[in-house]
């Protein structure tokens, strides 16, 4: 899985959580509001029924009832109140003129349950007639206050309706209606109130919520992003510092500047780890430096004694040949020791360079002359293109060691009749050298390992064929110490190319 920024994850996660909370909150609010509105409308319907008992007292004047109701609510509410009166036999006695076409009065189920409390009361208290005038003077106003002047009458109207009222919402045409069925044993009154306004209000609320929620989430998300950024800043500092800790800069430590407990602890732990790392690294490099230093004296003694013995021996004698062989082996030991010392110095970032002005081109020409000699047996074709007078600041003998290694490898890992191509060109800021050969190439699985110490392309190869296993890694360290580079640019059967760059 592709790693995602922790910061981004925190931002997204906080947005998600707030989204869930806000969404849930919104839905709950909307639902409660919806119920409250519906209940208010239902109460209003009850009230209407209770406050205008005329339909019971005066069966003939429903029209007047209707108009008086309209008077209360104002002209604009004309058509917003429906009335339907039906007797116990299901005979419709009155239908208000605004009754919508899409709603069939006969389809309305007017069955109601008996209300035990109401029937008891009705038995003891005969129905009383209106307690007051059905409207208050000047109280109408009709500015859409549906609940106005009606609420007090809501809830119950004991005595009038002995059945439990039933409420439901229907759609007729474009409008939604809230119908309330009230009644006693003789009459059913269906009072309808237009529900559009309530619905519109709820919808508006829903829309507002739908717009503000993403905005809020965006805010929360970016807030989370900022907070996470702030919280992670010490971590970024720590990783930047840790990146600066290389083999050369192992002594670097992360400054414990943060006041946060967690960060301070992390810094302390990391620094402690670095202490141990530095100690063991230093020990390791010191060890090989010390070892190669310690080897020097016995090597010097061996070499000196062998040389003396060689000179004193009978020319061409078996003893002299033995001394000669031993001397050559001493030489090899010396080279390995020297290589190890150089590598350990390079590891510690302390490779000492005796920098001088070096004619890279001339140096290379000389080395190629030697490479041709080495290649004489295998009949290699040399293609040499060297830009003359390319000068670099370098340690001459180390540079020579690195270059010779590349050239002799190009000769060694070649095929009889193969080719070696060497180009040197000076760019703006750096000299670029390529060494190509037509050998069998390094298998792809091993290409990353050619610069490893004591790496051998083929474990079965003999030492004579392979030389030192330190050569390439040493060459690379030497070039690094010169602020240059050595890479295996390509390697396939028939073509292996090493590239060297050195700053001019």
């Amino acid at each position: 899985m592709k790693p995602v920024s922790f910061r981004l994850r925190i931002a997204l996660l906080s947005a998600l959580i707030s989204g869930l909370v806000l969404g849930g909150f919104g839905v709950a609010t909307w639902y409660l509001l919806h119920r409250q509105k519906v209940e208010a409308v239902d109460t209003e319907i009850r009230g209407l029924g209770a406050r205008h008992p005329g339909w019971l007292a005066n069966r003939g004047s429903f029209d007047r009832l209707q108009s008086s109701i309209e008077f209360i609510f104002g002209e604009e509410h004309k058509g917003r109140i429906l009335l339907l009166v039906r007797d116990a036999q299901g005979q419709t006695l009155y239908t208000s003129p605004a009754w919508p076409d899409g709603l069939d009065p006969n389809q309305i189920d007017c069955s109601l349950e008996d209300d035990p409390a109401a029937s008891n009361e009705a038995a003891t208290n005969p129905p009383s007639l209106p307690r007051g005038p059905p409207w208050r003077p000047g109280g109408g106003g009709g500015r859409g206050g549906m609940g106005r002047g009606l609420g007090m009458g809501g809830g119950g109207t004991p005595g009038l309706f002995t059945k439990i009222p039933r409420f439901f919402t229907v759609r007729a045409g474009d409008s939604a209606w809230r119908l309330g069925i009230l009644g006693n044993n003789e009459v059913r009154l269906v009072v309808g109130l237009n529900f559009d306004q309530v619905q519109a209000e709820l919808n508006r609320m829903r829309n507002i919520f739908a717009v503000t929620l993403p905005l809020a989430l965006l805010l929360v998300g970016s807030g989370g992003w900022l907070v996470a950024g702030r919280a992670l800043r010490p971590l970024n500092t720590i990783s930047a510092m840790a990146e600066g800790v290389t083999a050369q800069g192992l002594d670097k430590r992360i400054p414990a500047s943060g006041s946060d407990v967690e960060i301070t602890r992390l810094v302390r732990v990391l620094n402690g780890m670095m202490d141990r790392l530095e100690a063991s690294f230093r020990q390791a490099t010191r060890f090989s430096a010390d070892a190669s230093h310690e080897l020097k004296t016995p090597l010097a003694v061996m070499q000196g004694e062998l040389e003396n013995a060689l000179q004193a021996a009978e020319p061409g004698s078996a003893a002299q040949q033995v001394f000669g062989n031993l001397l050559e082996e001493t030489q090899r030991l010396k080279r390995i020791t020297r290589g190890l010392l150089l590598l350990s110095q390079a590891d510690a970032g302390q490779l000492k360079l005796a920098i001088e002005d070096v004619d890279f081109s001339a140096e290379l020409e000389g080395l190629i002359e030697d490479a041709r000699v080495l290649a004489a047996d295998s009949n290699l074709a040399f293609d040499v293109r060297i830009e003359p007078r390319v000068r670099v600041q370098a340690d001459r003998s180390l540079l020579q060691m690195a270059l010779l290694n590349l050239l002799s490898n190009a000769v060694k890992y070649n095929e009889p009749g193969g080719a070696v191509a060497v180009t040197l060109e000076a760019g703006d800021a750096q000299a670029r050298l390529t060494v190509c050969n037509s050998g069998p190439g390094v298998p792809p699985s091993d290409q990353a390992r050619v610069f490893e110490r004591f790496y051998r392309a083929d474990p079965t190869r003999t030492r004579a064929q392979d030389g030192l296993g330190l050569g390439l890694s040493l060459a690379r360290e030497i070039l690094h110490a010169h602020r240059g580079r050595l890479v295996l640019a390509e390697s396939r059967p028939g073509r292996t190319r090493f590239e060297v760059t050195l700053p001019l």
Binding site: A289, H293, K296, T297, L299, A300, V301, Q303, G304, E305, E307, N308, L310, Q311, A312, A313, E314, P315, G316, Q320, Q321, F323, G324, N325, L327, E328, T330, Q331, R332, K334, R335, R338, G339, L341, Q345, K352, A354, G366, E369, D370, V373, L374, A376, D377, S397, Q400, M401, L404, N405, S408, G467, L468, G471
Partner: protein, 266 residues
């Protein structure tokens, strides 16, 4: 401390005449007469080196070359010797108990003693090497070194000190001018490539001495790396063609299974 090296040297010389130079010892002594002397004078070398085994092979090697050698293992003692007795050259190790090599050198130069000094350094002591040269060391050698190389350096240094001509090497009728880089066999001029010139110079600096291929490689190519001994063989062959092909006496000898040398007494 070695007692009376000069006496031993004399004895050796006498014996060479008597025994006709057939043994290894005799061969060494034979060279001693030609190499370890400058003119008629025996070159006296003071070696200050605390590592006893190194000092020992240096002494053996230099004595075999006919030098008169005295060894000191301590810096202070070495300094006293250097100031109190006449030496032709001092070989100084840098790391010493008591006074270190650089201090000895500094003190010598402070007292205006012009004793030629060759420093022995470890390769890692780059700064000390430079400091030594600045203090007035005449040359330096990096450990581990070949006796043959030390001998060549001592010769160069003593020649310089006595003002003798340094620029010409001669072995038999072969001569080499190090300044003009002219090489002559008899009256015939020989053209050499830079590598061939260095190789021949190296052989001519140690006539009669067997040099192994690796040794030649290290000195001539200055490679801290084994490019294969093949390289040396090819160059020796080239050199032979130019130096020996036309001449009745072949100077460059192959020592079978060991290396090469220049015929000591052509």
């Amino acid at each position: 401390m070695r007692a009376l090296p000069r006496a031993i040297d004399r004895t050796g010389r006498g014996r060479r005449v008597a025994r006709g130079g057939t043994t290894g010892d005799a061969r060494a002594r034979a060279r001693r007469n030609t190499v370890g002397h400058f003119g008629s004078k025996v070159v006296k070398v003071l070696v200050i080196e605390d590592e006893k085994k190194i000092a020992s092979f240096v002494r053996k090697g230099l004595e075999a070359e006919g030098f008169m050698v005295e060894v000191s293992h301590h810096g202070d003692e070495g300094y006293t010797l250097a100031t109190s007795r006449p030496y032709d050259v001092a070989v100084l190790d840098i790391m010493l108990p008591g006074r270190d090599g650089l201090s000895i050198l500094r003190n010598l130069r402070d007292r205006k003693i012009p004793l030629p000094v060759i420093l022995l350094t470890a390769r890692s002591e780059l700064n000390e090497r430079l400091e030594g040269l600045n203090l007035g060391a005449d040359d330096y050698l990096t450990k581990p070194f070949y006796i043959e190389e030390l001998v060549a350096r001592i010769h160069a240094v003593t020649r310089r000190a006595t003002g003798a001509p340094q620029g010409i090497l001669t072995v038999g009728d072969l001569s080499m001018n190090l300044l003009t880089r002219e090489v002559k066999r008899g009256e015939t001029a020989i053209e050499l490539t830079p590598r061939e010139f260095t190789l021949l110079e190296h052989l001519m600096r140690s006539p009669g001495r067997v040099l192994t291929r690796a040794q030649i490689c290290e000195r001539v190519w200055e490679y801290d790396f084994d490019p294969g001994t093949n390289l040396v063989e090819v160059y020796i062959q080239r050199l032979r063609k130019k130096v020996d092909a036309e001449a009745p006496v072949k100077l460059i000898e192959t020592v079978r299974g060991v290396g090469y040398r220049l015929k000591p007494r052509p």
